[in-house]
């Protein structure tokens, strides 16, 4: 058996990660000419970690936590968001989204649950960007590496942001970081959910737990293991193939829209500048 398998593949030095990410948040916000940040806070582990990091990086007075409940949002969502806000002393605004979502779907009463879920995610995005203009801060993203790889998010919805401090951390690693940062225990203990409909859980929808899939993802993506090596190591064929397909099929979500090339210099193909150009 490879010695890599006996390692804790997802180990992080949580304080080192926090130090880097807080500097990242401050550097990216300041170089864009801002002092403040806006976060959509759901009371889940991802948005809680981002809120904690932003408060540490910029000071709580420079963080606006926006809660955006829909009518199916659970009591736990409200309670846990509130706990984060109170713990950190960040600024907050509550913007329920039921009125506009329901007004829209009154035209399409037979719409599938996924459409409602995506619409809610995109509605929250527009609220965050509007609040960012009102508050004078950039939107911090809350998509983690597991979600980004699996495509378990809504394009131009929860995947949209100006900066994303946690996009290179697997969900499993976020638990270690959250515990280190002092995220409330109730948030660490609860089952991951998008809270997009009653009873929804990530594991129920995906068909596997983050603990299982993160171990596979880190070998496949970070350590560059081949399929045959993963199968030899005991990963089920269907699991490996399903996850590999999800990564490939959702790649479009991780890229800007594809542009038909005509000229000698086309955005992002041969017109190449860093995003942090000139800052």
């Amino acid at each position: 058996m490879s010695s890599e398998l006996s390692e804790n593949l997802l180990k992080i030095n949580a304080e080192l990660v926090a130090e880097i990410l807080c500097r990242f948040i401050a550097a990216e916000i300041h170089r864009a000419g801002f002092q403040r940040v806006v976060v959509g806070l759901s009371g889940g582990i991802d948005s809680s970690v981002v809120t904690f990091l932003c408060a540490r990086a910029l000071g709580p007075q420079n963080v606006l936590a926006v809660t955006m409940p829909y009518k199916t949002s659970s009591e736990a969502t409200r309670r846990d968001s509130q706990a984060v806000i109170e713990r950190l002393g960040v600024r907050t605004v509550d913007v329920p989204i039921a009125a506009q979502i329901d007004a829209y779907f009154s035209q399409f009463p037979d719409a599938a649950q996924l459409r409602l879920a995506n619409k809610c995610a995109r509605e929250r995005m527009t609220v965050l960007y509007d609040q960012s203009a009102a508050f004078g801060g950039l939107v911090a993203g809350t998509s983690n590496k597991s979600e980004l790889l699996l495509g378990y998010g809504t394009q131009f919805g929860d995947m949209a942001s100006a900066i994303n401090p946690i996009g290179d951390l697997y969900k499993t690693q976020l638990y270690d970081l959250a515990a280190h940062l002092g995220v409330p225990e109730a948030i660490l203990a609860k089952e991951p959910t998008g809270d997009l409909w009653v009873g929804q859980t990530d594991a129920g929808e995906l068909g596997f737990s983050y603990a299982e899939v993160d171990r596979l993802l880190v070998l496949l993506v970070d350590r560059r293991w081949r399929r045959t090596e993963l199968l030899q190591a005991g990963f089920a064929t269907e699991f490996v193939d399903r996850v590999t397909t999800m990564i490939r099929r959702n790649h479009y979500k991780r890229r800007m829209p594809v542009i038909a090339k005509l000229s000698h210099r086309t955005m992002d193909r041969d017109f190449r500048y860093a995003r942090d150009w000139g800052t």
């Binding site: 030095n13 500097r23 942090d276």
Partner: protein, 299 residues
């Protein structure tokens, strides 16, 4: 070599401790005027601390992810920007990272040593990493020389730029050049966060420590800090004596002007204890490389 140069190359004969300032800065990406001002500020601070040498990181005048900005940011070592820095440095020696445009419009990731009012040496990065997050060969032409040079106070010096430092052959050539001091100027981004410090920082420390002992020379690594496109440059600039002991190390992640003091006598003592450089068999090495060349390229 002239007698004067021979005398100049004797670092161990220098009468006093030499002070080196490692300017661990966070340049603004693509803003040469801003970065020039930052350099002047650091140079003045280094002079106030009576430094003999101030070293800036790789591409210190431009930032790292320069990409399509390369032709717009390139300067000449004989141009006004470097002149301004040389003038600011006064009696102090100076190492600066910049983009050099050759007369044939090739663009190099380069670093220069200036002292006594003039540029003594320009090193053009030989190994341009083009893998993983790196894409340097797309924008830069590779340097063709790994040469050391004689300095007024630091003896014979070799400069490597970041990836050059990871190539054993570069260090071997620099050793054959009989250096007293090896500089590595870097823009090393953080990767690997599972250990007590950034993994790549640990590797740099191991390389610097091992190379100092193997070369029998002092080694100084100057790395930048700050962020570009999500990449964190980890800093941790370090000065290592010829015995492999760390003399000084700058903070991780934050800007610093870290001072290291070298006792020139240490070089002589260390070469008596461990005469590895003396015992190197250069002609054997050359013969073996010729044999390998015939086997790999001429059969």
């Amino acid at each position: 070599m002239s007698p004067a140069a021979d005398e100049a190359s004797a670092l161990s004969g220098h009468p006093r401790v030499l002070r080196v300032a490692m300017a661990q800065i966070a340049p603004k990406l693509g803003d040469v005027p801003h970065n020039l001002a930052l350099h002047v500020e650091q140079i003045e601070a280094a002079r106030r601390q009576h430094a003999d040498l101030v070293i800036f990181p790789e591409l210190s005048l431009t930032g790292y992810f320069v990409r399509d900005m390369v032709p717009d940011l390139a300067i000449s070592p004989a141009g006004p920007e470097i002149r301004q820095l040389i003038d600011a440095a006064g009696p102090m020696s100076l190492v600066v990272g910049f983009i050099e445009e050759s007369p044939h419009h090739r663009f190099h990731n380069a670093a220069l040593w200036a002292e006594g009012g003039q540029v003594i040496h320009v090193h053009r990065k030989v190994y341009l990493p083009t893998y993983g997050l790196f894409d340097e060969q797309r924008y830069f032409a590779a340097g063709e020389r790994l040469m050391a040079f004689d300095t007024a106070r630091f003896g014979r010096v070799g400069i490597l730029i970041c990836e050059d430092f990871w190539h054993l052959s570069a260090a071997a050539i620099i050793q054959a050049e009989e250096v007293d001091l090896l500089l590595c100027v870097a823009n090393s981004p953080a990767r690997g966060v599972d250990g007590p410090k950034v993994r790549v920082a640990e590797t740099y420390e191991q390389l610097a420590t091992a190379l100092a002992q193997m070369l029998g020379a002092a080694v100084i690594v100057v790395n930048r800090v700050g962020f570009e496109d999500g990449l964190c440059f980890w800093g941790g600039s370090m000065a290592v004596g010829p015995d492999g002991r760390t003399i000084a190390q700058a903070a991780m992640l934050d800007p610093a002007l870290a001072l290291a003091e070298f006792d020139p006598g240490e070089l002589r003592r260390q070469r008596l204890i461990s005469p590895l450089a003396r015992d190197e068999r250069l002609l054997l090495t050359i013969e073996e490389f010729h044999r390998i060349k015939r086997r790999r390229y001429e059969q």
